[in-house]
């Protein structure tokens, strides 16, 4: 079975400061990892993914995430936060070797990011 945890319901950061949104996962095989963002009254938008290769993945809007296998983490980061980054962020995982859920993403509970001006 696969699972993902986002330990923080809420993250506040001042504009211009670096931000981190945490995510840890549990899979039996090698994970596929994703970050999505949801703005108010909108669907989820894809930010970035890790499938294989470099542990540091760069995505949309200046976001990046680092895959850390030993810590089973995939934290989302941005060097300098913008007020417009305020949104709900979801981490998701898929274990491609798990035939029971091979095509299904399992999502974390979400982290509300608020960037203060």
């Amino acid at each position: 079975a696969q699972s993902v945890a986002q330990p923080e319901d809420q993250v506040n950061v001042a504009e211009g400061n670096p931000l981190t949104v945490k995510c840890t996962y549990s899979v039996s095989g090698n994970p596929y990892l994703f970050w999505y963002v949801q703005y108010p009254n909108r669907g989820l938008q894809f930010l970035l993914k890790y499938i294989t290769g470099d542990n540091l993945v760069k995505g949309s809007y200046g976001f990046e995430a680092e895959f850390n296998k030993s810590q089973t983490s995939f934290h989302l980061k941005k060097p300098s936060a913008l007020v417009s980054d305020s949104a709900l962020y979801f981490c998701a995982v898929r274990d491609p070797t798990d035939s029971g859920s091979a095509r299904q993403l399992t999502f974390g509970s979400g982290t509300q990011l608020t960037v203060l001006p």
């Binding site: 669907g43 938008q45 993914k49 999502f107």
Partner: protein, 113 residues
């Protein structure tokens, strides 16, 4: 189409009525998923369609919920005898066979009064 289209965007219904929610996935995407997002909650998997294979219904919360996908394209999620706890945003997503990430629709906000 260019994206995943869901309709209606908002639906208010009386308790006990049936509702149908529609999802039109990206052309060529063989996989289609329904998720539910309740207020302050994460995403709850409901059902997954892949091509012509039997759907994975393991996430449907009760037998009041059903879904079909016609011609490998458009999908309809039906909720019978709606209850207030069914109030949520219902999100549809599609992906290519490889399933390396979804494209989501904007969702249908269902309110049962």
């Amino acid at each position: 189409g260019a994206g995943v289209s869901q309709s209606p965007s908002n639906k208010v219904t009386e308790k006990g009525k049936d509702v149908e929610l529609r999802c039109d996935p990206i052309s060529g995407h063989t996989a289609l998923y329904w998720y539910r997002q309740s207020l302050g909650q994460g995403l709850e998997f409901l059902i997954y369609f892949q091509g012509n294979s039997a759907p994975d219904k393991s996430g449907l919360p009760s037998d009041r919920f059903s879904a079909e996908r016609t011609g490998g394209s458009v999908s309809t999620l039906t909720i019978q005898r709606t209850q207030q706890e069914d109030s949520a945003v219902y999100l549809c997503a599609s992906s290519s066979y490889q399933g390396n990430g979804y494209t989501f629709g904007s969702g249908t906000r269902l309110t049962v009064v």
